[in-house]
């Protein structure tokens, strides 16, 4: 989905840059990449600020590794979310899918069925959730926001059921936890999964016809249909993908923390959405995209970590993510509006 709404004003003649000095200023602005890479600049500024503010705690390579490791799961969930959002659908069930998948793979081990089978079933669960979401949205024409919201509640019930209301942490195989905890060149494996997923999704969205169809549907579903795009089919695929990625992330999370509990997925929902929408203002402004989302994730994480190290209370995370989401969407709307003024 493009973050901006359809242009309602009449497109006019090619717009004037508006005044000589303003033109000059604008050029410099664009050349330095302020419009597309503002996130990177803000991130750099944050690192600078925190290095000065809490010097001994902040700028250690260890800290960077910790941030990277802890954000890998969020980043993967967020990237999976990009695909349905690109085609105009919200998927609020990703956190629920992550939770169920985590619980499934732990439950399988705790009940001696083996982690391999657990992984298979967890991934299948992700696909099934995606399929049901798409049936609800495409066949029953339920608004995706409402439909996936309902689904997330069902999935929460699912985690309660699997875990019996409490935590499961027994019978976990060390081979399994290695998937999430082993480190290569000082970075935990999930970081590499995240990079691999980023490459695949970047390719899908930018370098394949499917990516064009996704953005087309998100930009103008009616025009997409009349351009021969199979809207129902592509939307279904988008939900399947986000479900699968969420399930995969749940498996990796299970490996990381070695346990499962009913509320394990919840905290991932808002950060994923914040990152996706904030990311839509970066790199390829005006539409949700992979590099922008990654910048947003690490920007937000750096900010939160720095504040925590500086003594901010635990709830700073929620505050930051919520504020970021609102600011991101507001910025996007403003950028769109000023662009469209002929």
């Amino acid at each position: 989905m493009t973050v901006d709404k359809q242009a309602t004003s009449e497109p006019g003649v090619e717009r004037e840059a508006g005044g000589q000095s303003a033109h000059g200023r604008r050029k410099l602005f664009v050349v330095l990449g302020f419009d597309r890479f503002s996130g990177l600049y803000v991130w750099a500024a944050l690192i600078l600020i925190f290095s000065l503010w809490v010097p001994n705690l902040f700028d250690t390579a260890n800290n960077a590794r910790i941030i990277a490791g802890s954000q890998a799961i969020t980043a993967m969930v967020a990237m999976g979310l990009i695909v349905p959002v690109a085609c105009g659908a919200f998927d609020l069930s990703i956190a629920g899918t992550l939770g169920v998948s985590c619980c499934v793979v732990i439950w399988f081990q705790a009940n001696h069925h083996g982690w391999f089978l657990g992984i298979i079933v967890a991934l299948l669960v992700g696909l099934v959730v995606g399929l049901v979401n798409s049936l609800i949205v495409v066949r029953l024409h339920v608004d995706s926001f409402i439909g996936t919201l309902g689904m997330s509640s069902i999935l929460l019930a699912g985690t309660e059921w699997i875990t019996g209301g409490g935590q499961i942490a027994n019978g976990i195989s060390p081979t399994f936890t290695a998937i999430g905890q082993k480190q290569i060149i000082g970075l935990p494996l999930p970081v590499f999964y995240m990079i691999a997923l980023a490459i695949v999704l970047w390719w899908l969205l930018e370098y394949t016809p499917v990516g064009r169809y996704l953005y087309g549907i998100g930009g103008n579903p009616q025009a997409a249909r009349l351009a021969g795009i199979r809207v129902g089919r592509i939307t279904t695929g988008a939900f399947l993908l986000s479900g699968l990625v969420a399930a995969f992330s749940g498996i990796i999370l299970a490996a990381q923390i070695g346990s499962a509990s009913p509320d394990v997925g919840g905290p991932y929902l808002l950060p994923a959405f914040s990152a996706v929408f904030l990311g839509a203002t970066q790199v390829f402004p005006g539409r949700v995209n992979v590099p922008g989302t990654l910048i947003a994730i690490f920007l937000l994480a750096t900010g939160v970590k720095g504040l925590q190290l500086a003594g901010a209370p635990a709830y700073i995370n929620d505050l930051f993510n919520g504020a970021a989401l609102i600011i991101a969407v507001a910025l996007a709307a403003r950028a769109y509006a000023s662009q469209r003024k002929a």
């Binding site: 359809q6 242009a7 497109p11 064009r212 087309g216 103008n220 199979r230």
Partner: protein
Amino acid sequence: MTAALTVTSMSKSFAGPRVLNDVSLSIEPGEIRALVGENGSGKSTLIKILAGFHLPDEGSAEVDGQPLPLGNGASSETLGLRFVHQDLGLVNNLDAVDNMALGVGYPSFRGGIRWRQERKRARKALADLGYHFDVRRTVDRLAMSERTALAVARAMGPRQAQPKVLVLDEPTANLPAAEAERLFQLAKRVADSGVAVMFVSHHFDEVFGLAHSVTVLRDGQHVITRPVAGLTEDGLIELVIGRQLEQVHHDAKAAERKAIVLEVGGLECGVLNDVDLAVHAGEIVGVAGITGSGRDEVARALFGGLERSGEVKINGAVVPPLRPDRAMAMGMGLVPAERHANAAFMASTLRENVTVVRPGTYWRGGILRKSAERSDVAKWLERLDVRPREPEFTMADLSGGNQQKVVLARWLRLEPKVLVLDEPTQGVDVGAKSDIHKLVDEAAAQGTAVLVASTDHEELVRLCHRVLVFRRGRIADEIFGGRMDHDVITAATIGRDQAGAA
């Protein structure tokens, strides 16, 4: 007896020539007056002025002897001047009772609404017009004539003054013939109750079947107001067009009869009923018709944008309905009407807008080659003279004419066997319009079968080898050769054929 409605010397211009020039008319209570004229004759402007939507430059109006304050919608209503516009102004998911209260409210009884009484009142209002249907049904489940009746019942409600004049704007535009007949009865009942009825229409059967008198406007001026009795259809057409219809010889475009590419049999969609047509390779066939004739549905029905039944074949192969992707794979392309809603991806680049229909052309070695795409698109932008000629520009930054060219490039790039165009130069400047016409000519010269649906009859004359004229869902006339003329097409869309048609 005081006239129900008097209009005196009304004039209006919109930044240019006068669209309404010194128009006067008057209607007596109980009279049914038809207001007739081509598009651009000024009749919609007159209606809008009376409804308070525009302020005239000069002129005045009176309702039942009372001066009508102009530029104010509410005052028209309180004086008894009531309107039913073409889109009826009903809310689809509310029922009849609620719709009748729209804009008026309910009398409240100790702070509440007496629903039984309100339903009774609504039922009575409808019965007075000869309609009996369940007032609790929501509007979207009512037949079109029932909806129109509801809109009329609402317009006829008391509201601080009894209605004196009812203005209906193309009331049967969206009605099939049988329901239109019921509406005639309704209009007669309204007139019998002493209300003056003025209706705008393009349908001659309404003018002759319903109206007592007719006012003809042409180019913003009042041509004549006279009783319908004694007027012939040909006579009325002449008054509307402004001259006698002779056989006009144009440089008629003749197409060598090549093979049939597009074949349509028994097409049914919306008002379209049992339509057969065929387009040959290299031929440009036009589709003309007024609102509600089916002209605006043909293009999308063929391409799969609308639900339809019947058979559509391209080079003998059957095209399944509701599958634009299949139609496209079989060689059909559609440049839809209303590009903003139906064709343009405003936030995307020109490059993406052009290649969205088949990006796979640039697929090599597992990725889309964007540089190849960009240079290819640049060539197309050059060929169609799109300005600015930059593939990475955003669609929304272009003027309407250039946007339309981009959409056209989208389909020309695929070298379609059948190209369907719906209002191809809508909202397009003069220069781009001429460019687009040349491009369509070129496509046909290369063997593409072209179908053009348009309300611009000059455009149809310029482009087409022949024009199919639709009336009430069927092909009523086919115009070609010596009859290819703007006025002949206009006449055919609104009335019967000229005597001595080819």
